[in-house]
Symmetry: C2
Amino acid sequence: MILLLTSDPRDDPEAADAGTADWLAHLEEAMPEETIHTVWTDYDPGDIDIAVIVQPPPGSLAHLPNLVWIHSLWAGVETILADETIPPDIPIVRLQDPHMADTIAEAAAMHVLALHRQMPGYRALQNEHTWKDLGYAETSETRVGILGLGLMGSAAARVLAMLGFAVMGWSTTPKNIDGVESFVGESGLADMAAKTDILVNLLPLTPATERIMSSGLFDRLPTGARIVNLGRGPHVDDDDLLGALDTGRVAHASLDVFWEEPLPADHPFWDHPLITITPHVAAPTGRLTGSRIVADNVRRYRAEGIIPEAVDRRLAY
Amino acid sequence: MILLLTSDPRDDPEAADAGTADWLAHLEEAMPEETIHTVWTDYDPGDIDIAVIVQPPPGSLAHLPNLVWIHSLWAGVETILADETIPPDIPIVRLQDPHMADTIAEAAAMHVLALHRQMPGYRALQNEHTWKDLGYAETSETRVGILGLGLMGSAAARVLAMLGFAVMGWSTTPKNIDGVESFVGESGLADMAAKTDILVNLLPLTPATERIMSSGLFDRLPTGARIVNLGRGPHVDDDDLLGALDTGRVAHASLDVFWEEPLPADHPFWDHPLITITPHVAAPTGRLTGSRIVADNVRRYRAEGIIPEAVDRRLAY
């Protein structure tokens, strides 16, 4: 029996806003043969063998004695991995949605094209009623460096290469993607950064990648490089970024994710002329396609006892 | 012998800004066997058989008794066609640069992605320090209608289809482009408009297309459609556009071209919250690739007497 757990408050279904009702409807449609409970329905905790989760508060799963595995509806699993009430031998499966990868690749393409085409500069000129050509760099000479070549990073790399950019990517293990130069390891990161005009982050958040975008990396970029963060807020050291924007090392930052979300109204990023803010919308999880993937995984488990490949807790992705 | 004519002032080479010197350098490198004059060099007008032009003032070619043909370095030829001092039997060849078509297709992709991804709305929210998800429409359900499927329009159609948009195109004759629905004629225009979420103009400017984007067309769009003008300013009826933005029929307009360029500093478009302005930069003519195309055409003429396909003055493209 399945328990759907989200960040919605347990005591008040009316106040629900994490989409529990909408997820429930999609999941029930995708697997009508399953009984799916929520915190607002009556169930025996001992009956639950699978938890399907969207960022529930820590400790939410502690009352399930017979839990076998957990399916996260988010691609990022840093929150659930930090929950110490979950026994380490319970597999945590994250949603690997190719449709979501396409969606985030589209967001990467949009942000990179806007920076390549000097849109922040033209926006500033429009505010001043100034007609001025800011110049055009050939696409084939605009070098895009992607941090992370997993499902999302490699989808972004392919779209950007298709658009004609000179694409490079950095990952833990070497990757072979048509038209994409592969870099690995610490020295590979430094080498890639030195040639990067636009840096796009699509890494998972792990202890090893937290604050990866800090002065150490910014200082290796060519002067006037631009950055796009579609990963997680803690990938960026905010103070270092503000410093790099001040010195001109980084000419613009397009940020979709932040340490605290919603971004606090008094955060200095909001009014910064060299920062573009979007409210964590790069890759909305498609509830239709996501629910179908979960249903396939649940059915395979019921029929064959096979749990999909789980997150490696040591690597945290 | 070739004469290169631009909009640069004839009396002062120091004040040149239409790129005469840069065009000359590229053209001389591309065809070192040719003598290329400018208004600042000494030549016998009777020696000139080919004029290579970038928007010269009307009457600039009237002194050339033995002119055989004209090669425009711009894709748009509306200005030269309006010059009544040019005998109607002199062929005018326009630059058909596939590289330029790729560049304008890229601009179309950038503007369409930015509108699809609600970037003007997020910009306004950033100004207010407001964190709010404006929702995401599936790319495959976002219908892009392209006005014009010539070299540029079809390049844009292909890139947009590749990005996953539902692409339609309107042209004089039916076109067969993979994944692009073709519309022709006046009723075709109305049919396409009724299904268009984002309308992109890439038509040449002719008497038949002037003010094609006016109330008559806007009224057929679904409420809240967005428009992108990468053609020419006179394709848009400015007052009708302002009216359509007022009523919400058109939710946003991204404009690269205008009736008067530079756009006058007191034009109402500058401060309009629903208009994005770029200063005619969608497709900078690549001087390197453009010069090579001109050189190939000149060589073919010298060797075989063949003048490239000229503009049809009746159709004006």
